[in-house]
């Protein structure tokens, strides 16, 4: 596939944003469909890139600053681009049909998509930084304009945390350039081969951990997350939790593990500890929440902890697990919030004490609750659903390196089932309040995004290669540690050993790079 396809991935949302503004005021119902189409275009293209990998694109932009439009796709970025496109489509479709100020709302959603996809496509640190910063603006506006009662506070807090994150990344990227003995350069290939002084490496990694740790987030940098997740409109949370936060994980993997492997390896016990603490802290806090959105925010925090654990161990298997966790969590959290969005739209609340009996077959929301149950099961890592293979890979991959952190995370994973059951028991079962239960049932149109996500979560659980296969080669390349029991069986990783499908259906990194 020609390399300009990579530009098309960015042009689609950009063009869509402009087109939305041209929709006349009496045809506002077209806006949502148009926005969804603008997001679906890149999805089709990204899937095309999977089958026919495009060559990298190098265009000069601002040569004096070292800013180049270097775009490329490999086994790490491609699955995340697909995920982002997918989540954007479903988030847009999850918005209510009577969304207020739809032109601006959906344009900002597309702008977010543009930023995330730009960051994932970037093969240049400065371009990545630009895209990373770009995401901040639309999300802040989306929260500030369409958020809940405390939207102003939530937006300001998100802005402050994200600004610190952005500044830290800016400092890190500049440090990459300044401390490069071979002269300032931002290209990933140059950074990969650069020999930074040891002190600079430590400072840069610290800044990267701050920048991406805030974005993920991970304890103790999570202060913005529960507040923002509880105040932002549900489609925005779907995008934020499902796609935007993955930019942080991707950054850690690309910059931390990829460019500063020795410091990463040295600091990884502490990073693993932060991951394990996040997992436990998130799960325990989720148990204590009395609002579904906040519960899911902390649940998300816990899952990010598992992801960080996988990254810190940096074995081929754990990195593969981390990528799988990004994909699985992206889909699961989007599904969770799609269901929560439906519950909130119908009942008008997400307060757990005010909800009960929603499984009621005639007057409740049985279909939505069934999907929520499945999503909670997936989040809790029940086999057969997307969460299981991802978590299993992370645990199996990390066990040999950080057994204690893995054990703690395993226990945290057990707590996931506690809050999942607790939530469902309170909200789904019990008596439906006769006085309150006066809402209409969900229509098929409203259910469709969540249904599609449900099918994907099941499909990924039944065919885990869809989660793990993409990144197999990159994970092996990036791995800092060997996998003891794998090394004995030769160079094969479990994914390739188990499935010839991977080789058939998914491109390896070398294929992507060379073609």
């Amino acid at each position: 596939m020609p390399s300009f396809v990579l530009v098309l991935l960015l042009v689609f949302p950009l063009f869509g944003m402009g087109l939305l503004q041209l929709v006349p005021a009496d045809r506002l119902r077209w806006v949502q469909r148009l926005a969804a189409s603008s997001a679906a275009g890149p999805l089709v293209l990204a899937l095309g890139c999977w089958r026919l990998p495009p060559a990298d694109l190098h265009l000069s932009w601002l040569p004096k600053l070292g800013l180049r439009l270097d775009l490329g796709l490999d086994g790490l970025s491609l699955p995340l681009v697909v995920l982002t496109a997918l989540i954007t489509v479903f988030a847009i479709l999850s918005a209510p049909a009577d969304q207020s100020r739809p032109r601006l709302f959906f344009a900002l959603m597309l702008a977010t998509n543009l930023g995330v996809v730009g960051g994932l496509l970037a093969r240049n640190a400065l371009l990545f930084l630009l895209a990373f910063e770009l995401v901040l603006i639309p999300i802040t506006l989306l929260v500030a304009i369409w958020g809940g009662e405390k939207r102003a506070g939530a937006a300001v807090r998100f802005l402050l945390y994200s600004a610190v994150s952005g500044l830290a990344l800016l400092a890190a990227v500049l440090a990459f350039a300044w401390f490069n003995p071979a002269g300032p350069a931002f290209g990933f290939d140059e950074l990969h081969n650069a020999q930074f002084p040891p002190a600079a490496r430590r400072w840069i990694l610290a800044l990267l951990l701050l920048a991406f740790g805030l974005k993920l987030p991970v304890v103790p940098l999570h202060g913005w997350q529960p507040f923002t997740y509880s105040q932002a409109p549900t489609p925005v949370v779907m995008l934020l939790a499902g796609a935007v936060s993955k930019l942080g994980a991707y950054g850690l993997l690309r910059f931390g593990v990829g460019f500063l492997p020795d410091i990463w390896a040295a600091w990884s016990p502490w990073i693993a500890a932060a991951g394990a603490i996040s997992a436990v802290y998130g799960a325990l806090n989720a148990i204590a929440q009395s609002d579904i959105r906040r519960l899911m925010a902390f649940s998300s925090l816990g899952h990010m902890g598992l992801l960080v654990l996988g990254l810190s161990a940096a074995t081929p298997l754990s990195l593969q697990g981390a990528v799988a966790q990004m994909l699985a969590h992206g889909m699961i959290v989007a599904l969770l919030f799609a269901c929560v969005g439906l519950i909130e739209r119908k009942t008008g609340t997400t307060a757990i004490p005010e909800l009960s009996g929603l499984m009621n077959p005639l007057r409740g929301l049985p279909f939505t609750m069934a999907m929520l149950l499945l999503a909670l099961m997936a989040a809790a890592g029940i086999p057969g659903l997307a969460g299981f293979p991802a978590e299993l890979l992370v645990f199996e991959g990390s066990w040999s390196t950080f057994p204690r952190a893995t054990l703690v995370s395993l226990i945290a994973s057990g707590f996931t089932a506690v809050y999942a059951i607790r939530l469902f028991n309170r909200v789904g079962f019990g008596r439906l309040d006769n006085d309150r239960a006066d809402w209409s049932s969900t229509s098929w149109g409203e259910r469709a995004p969540a249904m599609a996500l449900t099918l994907l979560v099941i499909a990924a659980g039944l065919w885990p290669t869809a989660l793990t296969g993409w990144s197999e080669a990159e994970s092996t390349d990036l791995a800092l540690r060997s996998q003891p029991f794998l090394s004995r069986t030769g160079a094969q990783t479990p994914a390739s050993a188990g499935s010839s499908l991977v080789a058939v259906t998914l491109p390896s990194a070398s294929e992507l790079r060379t073609s």
Binding site: G357, N360, P361, L362, R363, R431, L432, N434, S440, S441
Partner: protein, 436 residues
């Protein structure tokens, strides 16, 4: 039938007794004026009459099958076909309908209702053998009727002499004869009977309650059919009229004998002979209202109760899971008796009710809930009729001039309303049309 209910007294400038201070004072004053617990609105009248009609058609099946089980299936150890009453029972003339009835309540036919027969043939699906309809659950569901029978059997001690009779020697001797005749030539069952006679006897008692409930509903079905016909002709002017019709009906058939006969090999075994003098009002109607409307037991599937945590009363008399207290919202859960009853009634709704439901809440989507609430309203009206009938039988006319008599009536009504003070009671809800 003459009306034992006096017409409501004219509003007096000076009431003979002071107003009630009860929480349900409004309802009590309405009862004292000859009204029902259900407010007198045209929509309420339409709802209750419509649902009586929809209830009476499956009830016509219930009573026939209950008697079929009590009299023919009897102690069959594998009663796989007990919900398939024989043609004889479908043709069995109702004692209160048809040309040959001694007391004709309904002007229609004495055999099974034509709508019932049409439904049994085709169901919701299509014409197919009875067994397939049964297995597909496309049928009249007897589970609700059996749950009502179980409630009556289990609660016992609700007045009347019926249950005590089931413990007496005469009953045991009759039952023994029937058991031995039924299992004649079956050494296995006779051997088991010799080993566990009480177990068999208990089953026969249960069969006697099948007969009891069957005979009770044999009366109610034509009453409801007639009410529907009168309404269709524009006959009832309000909810009190409908209640009065019920009260009159209750008194007209109060003396109907309650018995249990079993037919084994062409011979009739009178386990409870008519000569024992059990009558409809005291041995069937009142225990039925108490057991089914007030008490029952928590229906499986509707809600879980924790007896250890004191969520279930220790006294059976305090049970409050009947239709007057029921939370109708869980209706729709698969297989639970209330859902099955609503499903049965759904097939026979008059068009005016279908139209009404389509306009409210989720329309077609929650029609089972809506008709459940209607059923609850209608049963408050039936209970009102029973309360008025009891007041009529035991106390004083509503237009009595003696203040002491009126106070006695007041105390009776207040005592009845006390049963609805517990929070589960739906009496406050049915006072408005918002509850659907």
């Amino acid at each position: 039938m003459t009306s034992p209910i006096a017409t409501a007294p004219e509003p007096l400038t000076e009431p003979l007794i002071p107003p009630s201070t009860h929480r349900y004072a409004d309802v009590i004053h309405r009862l004292e004026a000859g009204g029902s617990m259900l407010p007198d609105t045209p929509e309420n009248l339409m709802q209750i009459i419509g649902i009586y009609k929809a209830y009476a058609v499956p009830m016509d099946f219930y009573w026939r099958d209950l008697l079929y089980i009590a009299e023919r299936v009897f102690l069959d150890p594998l009663p796989a076909f007990k919900y398939f009453p024989s043609q004889e029972y479908l043709d069995r003339p109702n004692s209160y309908a048809g040309d040959d009835s001694k007391l004709r309540i309904w002007r229609g036919t004495a055999t099974a209702h034509p709508e019932l027969l049409a439904f049994m043939a085709k169901g919701e699906t299509t014409n197919m053998p009875k067994l397939l309809h049964h297995l597909w659950h496309d049928r009249i569901n007897m589970e609700f009727a059996e749950a009502c029978m179980d409630a009556m059997f289990w609660h016992q001690g609700m007045g009347g002499r019926f249950y005590d009779y089931l413990e007496c020697d005469a009953y045991k001797a009759n039952a023994d004869k029937a058991i031995k005749a039924y299992f004649k030539g079956n050494p296995l069952m006779l051997g088991l009977y010799a080993l566990f006679p009480e177990m068999f006897l208990e089953q026969v008692r249960k069969m006697s309650y099948y007969a009891n409930l069957g005979l009770f509903w044999e009366v109610m079905a034509p009453v409801f059919f007639e009410m529907s016909d009168i309404y269709d002709e524009g006959g009832f002017k309000g909810v009190p009229d409908a209640m009065d019709f019920l009260v009159n009906g209750i008194f007209a058939v109060a003396g109907r004998p309650i018995y249990h006969h079993v037919f084994i090999g062409g011979e009739c075994f009178e386990i409870i002979p008519k000569s024992e003098g059990f009558t409809w009002l005291y041995e069937a109607a009142l225990p039925y209202v108490e057991a089914v409307f007030y008490r029952t037991a928590p229906f499986r599937g509707t809600k879980s109760y924790n007896a250890q945590a004191g969520q279930v009363p220790s006294e059976q008399a305090d049970f409050h899971y009947g239709i007057l207290y029921a939370d109708v919202f869980p209706v729709g859960s698969a297989g639970i008796p209330p859902t099955l009853l609503m499903q049965d009634m759904l097939h026979f709704l008059p068009p005016y009710l279908t139209e009404l439901y389509a306009k409210h809440k989720r329309g077609e989507g929650d029609i089972l809930n809506q008709l459940g609430v209607t059923f609850q309203r209608s049963m408050y009206n039936v209970t009102s009729a029973v309360i008025q009938a009891l007041r009529c039988a035991l106390l004083y006319p509503l237009d009595d001039a003696d203040p002491e008599h009126l106070m006695a009536n007041r105390r009776f009504f207040e005592a009845q309303m006390d049963r609805f003070l517990r929070p589960e009671a739906r009496l406050p809800q049915i006072q408005t049309q918002d509850y659907r």
